[in-house]
Amino acid sequence: MSDKIFKTILFLTASMIPLICGGIVYALVTDAYQAFEYFGFFKFLTSSEWSYTEGNEQYGAMPFITGTLMTTLLALLFCIPFSLPVALFTGEYFKGTKIASILSTIVDLLAGIPSIIYGLWGFFTLRPIIMALNISPQGSSILTASLVLAIMIVPYAASLSAEFIKMVPNDLKESAYSLGSTRAEVVRRVIFPVAGSGIFSSYILAIGRALGETMTVTMLIGNTNAIPDSITSTGNSMASIIANQFGEADGLRLSSLIAIGLILFLITATINMIGKIMIKHSRI
């Protein structure tokens, strides 16, 4: 009897999750509907205007989609040279040693730092450097935001890829060694290919994390509502435009912000799904 009650409670609690998720999607869609209806879905996606002059309001998502994609891809690019060696260090070269466990603890610690702290560090430490190097006049730029974003996603990419590297069967590695292979060749020709799709998927999941990162980006991107013409210019990401303007927006503008939120949600969900599917189909 108590087993039955327990089961019912479990079922009810578990079914809350899909309900909440559905509720969020429903709210996003209904609130975004006004903007899509007014501008047209594709027009909204591709328009680069963002002006709230009364009587002639023009909103389009393109500058922010571009800003998000630029920061995310740059962050990914900057993240790889750090996360891949860390993954190899903890997952293969120093696997099981004390120094590897210390390193992975520190990496995990990085993942736990609140994004506002990364933002502060970027704002007060990195931004002056960017300014001093004459890369960008105010120091805020797509580049600045991407650099900090890269540091933030290193732990996700590194610890997950290390898991996949660790999972490469030992007898496969030994087989390669038994053929007279050096360690570097074993890494290059056996470990990377075998763990490849897993490593790839961990970067996809890291991207998913970078796409939605709000606080750090808002503090460092410069908040300009136009398509950035280079990586050193200022811009806005989908998340940062929402964070900047939701408080003062209403009507069509609010609906447009929510529409951007919906697009971001769809992109992130798709990216995460691709990552999960790849993990399932990875060769290990």
């Binding site: 030994e174 060694y177 038994s178 053929l179 292979s181 060749e185 020709r189 290919p193 060769r283």
Partner: protein
């Protein structure tokens, strides 16, 4: 034992995993060239540890110490470069281990690619065909050379792994219970193959299948608790074991 033309010689070889526990204790034995020598013994007797000492596999694990000497053509392996040793001494593992991302052809040639040795197209084709023929796999796979090796049956995969080891033309082939994951028919195939192969390569095989040792090996070692208890012609050992422990093992009272 009569004098033999040896290629490999253990001289007081010891393997220890921790400071105080020796897995292999002072093993001395000469391995005859172009023959099959079996290493038998119950689980944990040190037979695999001894085998893995030969191609310096233990050097991959810093905790494991190998002492004494292992001579390959009179030169001590333990002071040689492991990469060079492993190119001359091939190994086949318990479970078939074709590289899952490589095709059948690439698997055969893996020893060359992993060592950064470049071959032209003609050499590649020749090595692939000859090696696969020598493990009698050629007829079965010649039309699917570009398919992944993991699509083959267990027995075929194991023959592919033998081919991969043989492609580098090693002097010695080490086999660590190579048929324990295979069905009886595949096992029979491999055993017949080994009997053929001993003309070209010296085979040292760890097995806990006494029947297998009896069927294919010329000489047998019996190890117990890290010691080499008895080493003799297989026929002699099975008919008249000298040591009580060997007798107990062979009659199934221990194992």
């Amino acid at each position: 034992m009569e004098s033999i033309e040896s290629i490999l010689e253990f001289n007081k070889t010891c393997v220890s995993y921790t400071k105080n526990t020796m897995a292999v204790k002072y093993v001395s034995a000469e391995i005859e060239k172009n023959s099959i020598t079996a290493i038998m013994g119950p689980s944990g007797c040190g037979k695999s540890s001894l085998l893995r000492a030969v191609n310096l596999m233990h050097e991959l694990y810093p905790n494991i110490k190998v002492e004494g000497e292992i001579l390959l053509n009179g030169k001590n392996i333990l002071s040689m470069n492991p990469i060079e040793v492993r190119r001359r001494i091939g190994m086949v593992f318990q479970r078939p281990t074709p590289f899952p991302t490589m095709s059948i052809q690439e698997n055969v040639l893996a020893g060359f690619t992993l060592n950064g040795l470049r071959l032209d197209k003609y050499q590649r084709e020749e090595i692939v065909e000859n090696t696969l023929k020598s493990v009698s796999l050629w007829d079965e796979v010649k039309d699917v050379l570009n398919k992944k090796g993991t699509f083959l049956s267990g027995g075929q995969q194991q023959r592919l792994c033998i081919a991969r080891a043989l492609a580098l033309k090693p002097d010695v082939l080490l086999m660590d219970e190579p048929t324990s994951a295979l069905d009886p028919i595949a096992t029979k195939h491999i055993e017949e193959l080994l009997t053929e192969l001993q003309k070209e390569v010296t085979i040292l095989i760890v097995t806990h299948n006494m029947g297998q040792a009896k069927r294919i090996s010329k000489r047998s070692m019996f190890m117990y608790l890290g010691e080499l208890v008895e080493y003799d012609l297989t026929e002699t050992m099975f008919s008249t074991p000298k040591d009580e422990r060997t007798k107990e093992y062979l009659t199934g009272r221990m194992g």
